[in-house]
Structure formats: C-alpha cells, structure tokens
Amino acid sequence: MNSAPALAQIDPSSTGRGLSLTALWTLYSFSLRQHRHGKRWIIMAALMLLPAGLALLVRNTAHNVPGVALEFVFAFMFIPQALLPLVALIYASGMIQDEQEEQTITYLLIRPIPKWALYVMKLLATLTVAVVLTVVFTSLTYAVIYWGADNHGQNILLRCLKASSIHATAVAAYCCLFGLMSLMAKRILIVGILYIAIFEGLFANLAFGIRLLTVIYYTRLIAYRTLPFIVSTPFGTQDFAAEAWQLDVRNDPKLLEHPQFGTCLIVLFVSSLVLTALAAFICSRREFYVKTAEKG
C-alpha cells in the first residue's frame, strides 16, 4: 500500500482565489504569439495588400482617375465589404476551433482560468492582431493612392486616420460576431461566407430596415458623415458614396432618417460587447470534446 499521508478535505470557501491577472496576461500574450507564429498572418497580409496593389495598378494604367474615387472604391468598398469580414472570419473562427482541432485546448482548460475568461483573452488577442493589420494596410492603401497625387487641398493624413479608425471599429465588430458564430456553428467558414455574401453583401444594399442588422451599414454611415466623397465629373459634382450606398441625399440631405454618428458608434460598440458576453457565456457552459467527435 502506498504510504502517502492522508489528506484532509479542503474548505470550499478557501480555494476561491479569484481571477489570476498573471494567468490572464500570459494567455493574452501567448495568444498573440500564436497569431504571430505560423503562416496565417502572411496570408492575411497578402490579402490586405490587394487594395494597395490594385490602386498602384490603376494609377499606372488609368490616368487622371481622381484620388477620392480610388479611395472610395478601394478603401471604402473593397476593404470593408470584402476584406475586413474575411480577415475577421479567418481569425475569429479559429480562436477556439483551431485549439480544439489541434487538441491543445486541453492545456488551457486545465489551468485556473475560467472558460469565459479564456474566450475573452483569446478574443482580445485576435482583436489586437486584426486591428493592427487593418490600420497598417489601410494606411498603406492611402499612401499608395495619394503618393505624388494632387490632393485638391484635402488633409490626407486626417482622412487616413479616420478611415483607419472606422475600419478598426468594423473589424472589431466582425471579430466579435464571428467569434460567437464559431461557438455555435461547426462549419463556421461556410456560415461566415454565406453571412458575408447575403447579409453584408445583399441585405446591406437594400433600402429596408434589415440593413440595421448589418455592420457595414453603420460603417458606411460613419464614413459618410465624417468623410466627403464628392468628385467632379462631366455630369457635375457626383456624390459617390450616396449613390453606391443607397442613401437618399436628394430628399434627405442631412440623412436625418438614418442613425447619427454617435449612435452608430454606440450601436457597434454595444453590440460587440453583447456578442462577446454571449459568446463568453456559451463558452463557460460548453464542453470541448477533444477525443470524441462533437455531435452533428
């Protein structure tokens, strides 16, 4: 018989030492390292380089294209409509699912970190990486569009700053959304792509109330209210944004029927928090099957 000493029962009230900030910080920095490691960030960077590359190509092949037009097409159509949701989908969907598929999530679950905190720290690390990528490549796109071009008196640095902030807010909202979806859907990539194509791609372009449920709608409103996209054409001055985004500026020049700038920010921020809280709650109640396959 083993001669180990007898153990007394530990008083339950004495073991609750609360959240360890050390553990949380370690998890956050470890998740950042995970993102940095591997080829994923290279693929994301290549994807985010597309707008800058395209802008360079257009500037070299089609002359006299106004900078504002290029800015609108690449920085406010291409990036928020296609790239930001994709980047957020890839990063956020893999937060927990990658760990589960690689079977390394066990090493995190057996630490004294609540599951909801595990999710929140992973999300924070994902947000950090996604926002940094977004800001860097948005700035690069602006640099490519306006380098050596006539600014027509515009403050490009300010426009770039505003655009980067808007994109960062959007990508953060997408990350929170797809993070929640990844806990609810097994085939998150298919669901995410369908969501991007149907919700953000189709419904957001319809002048119906359903677009209030999309991230891109609020992103566009914030962009419209903070950055003018007026270009001189043979037709006279043309408001690119209003035409492309189905905003009836002729009858409602101040867009009073649409949420204001502050409201848009609050909606995006609050909905991100709500989605995160919901996902953290689901994570805290969830079992993570490592050996046996999940149901369905």
């Binding site: 257009v58 290029l70 097409v73 690449f74 890839i90 969907s93 085939r187 037709f235 006279g236």
Partner: protein, 382 residues
Amino acid sequence: MPIFDQGYQHWSGQMSGRAWRWLAVTRQGIRGGLKNRFLRYVLFAAWVPALALVLMLCMWGLLERRSSLASTFIQYMSLLQPGVVADPQHYRADIWRLSYGYFLQIELRFSMVLILLVGPNLISQDLRFNALPLYFSRPLRRIDYFLGKLGVILAFLGMVVIVPSIVAYVLGLLFSLDITIVRDTFAILLASVAYGLIIAFSAGLLILALSAMSRNSRYVALCWVAIWLISGIVGTVLQAVDSQQRRYAYYSQISVARPNGRDFDNLPRAERDKQWRAYRQAREKATEEYRIAELGFSAHDWRPLVSYTANLSRLGQQLLGTDQTWKKLSLLDPDQNARDLLLATYMGPQYPWYWSAGVLTGLFGLSACVLNLSVKSLDRLK
C-alpha cells in the same frame, strides 16, 4: 466434415489492374463528400438550372412541331424576336447554343461552390492526420493518388455540368423527333462536355494544389474563396475604373450642357422640360456610342484575365460559339444602331480566347508543380 480456419486468409483470387487503383481513392472521397449535408443541398440546387435547360430545349422541340403548349410558353420569353419564333428550325442551333451558354454560366458558379465544399479536405486532411504513409505503403503510386483525388472533383462536377448537359440533349432530341437536329446540335453537346471537363480539370487541379499546401482545410477554403471571388471582384474593379474613364470621355463630348442654375430655374416649365429632354437625348446617345465602342475596346482589354471565373467563361464562350449566335440574331433588326447595341449588351468579352487559355494552362502547370513538390513518395515523407 472439415473444420475451416477462421483466421486471416490470404487472397488468392485475381487482383484488379493497376490502372484502376485510383478508383478506390475516388470512391472513398465521394462517399466522404456525400456525408456532408450542405453538399447534398447544393447538388440538389445545382440541378434546378438543368431542369430549366431541359424545359427550354423541350419547349423548342415542341415549337418546331407547332405545338400550342410551346407557343404559350415562348410568348413569355421577351428576348425572342418574332423572326426567330416564326422559323424555329432555322434558329434551332442558335437557341440551343444560347440555352446551353446560360446554363453553363450558372453551373460554373455552382461548380465553384461545390469545390469549396468538397475540395479543401481532399489532401489537407491526409496531411493533418498523417494518412499519406497509409496510402503509399500500398501498391499505389503518387499519380494514382492524385488521379483518385481529382476523380472526386470530376465526379461531383460531372454530376452538375456534364450529366445534365447530356440528359438535356437526349430529352431535347426526343421532344424534337427530327433527325437533322443531331447534325445541327451535336457540336453543342461536345462543346458543353468539353467545357465541363475543362472546368473540372482546371479547378480540380487548382484546389488539389491548394489543399496540398496546408494541413488546415479552413485556410485552403479561404484561398479558394480568394481565387474565385476576390479575383472576380478585382477584375471587375479594374474594368470598372477603366471603363468609367472612357465613359466620362464620351460624356464630356456632349454638346448640350446639363441644365442647371438660377437662369434655368427661372425659365417657364415648358422650356425647362424641353431643355431636359434635349440633354437626356444627348446623354442617351453618348451612352449608346460608349457601349458600342466598349465592345471594340474589349478586344484588347487584359483586365478580365485577373478573374479566374472570367477566364473559364471566355473559354466556354469560345467553345459554344455564342458570339456567332448573337451576330446572327442581331441581323433580324434592320437598324444598324440597334444591332450594335444588341451585340454590345449580350456579347461577352472580345479579347482573344487564347489569352484565357494561356492563363488557365499556366495555372494548371503551377498546380501540377505544387502537387509534385508537396506530396512526396513514401521514401521522402517526413
């Protein structure tokens, strides 16, 4: 009564030939793919355009036999001019060509979705779970493995492109009851089958190469989405920016100025309306001239080459010969301007088809190289 050994017994029968070993890999891949519920839904949805194609061909066959059922149906197709409906046999091949053309355009999209569902797992899962030694420790060569995996893509794409094309053709023949239809339309069947095979081989090898580059099928799927959708968006953006500039150049030549300003607002209503009408007419004329000129410009436009699906579409357009069909149909209109406008509206890109063939061949070669480098034989596996 003899007692038989229940243990392992060596197979002493005939072994299947080496040429068919890839089929085992294909069968296993198809079985695995069909377990995916989404895939079954997409397969089901992909057959809906096939039903529409069958309906169109059958109706045309009935129209040739002057059936009243077909006449009722055809009157809802506003695209068809009276001259075409009046002589259905003369325009039979053209209508078949256009019907197949639209069908294959839709099925091209479904094919991309099918590949997204089936393709990423094909090799990446074998890499992730280290199944390659299990394959290559059997008398299976790398080429058998690649053919087997490619066979999975061929099977699924064949189900939505080639099989419906053949079934629609046979049903169209049956509803026509005219033996000359084979002479007129057999080339269309061959072209659609060839196009289906081109899509399957090109896209199949490409997705296999992507799948061989990563152990995580999610990133493979993302790369596929990038190639399929993002390249399409990039191509469209490049074309749009370029054509917009030319459009502005045409509009800047409008001799009638845009009515605006206080002087215009002070004019009587009749005069204002007259000036607006004149401006709109000038603008419409400029638009028509621009659209007609775009057709000529598209003969030199390289921008669509950026889009993977546009390259496939261009080859399909060339194989089916839909451009000749539109030219023939345009002759029904006596007005030259109207003819040019019809061609500008309906004809596809006019750049040389061999540009697209070159791009696709280059991608094919690159995919083959990547596969060769990524999937090593047993003695070279880590």
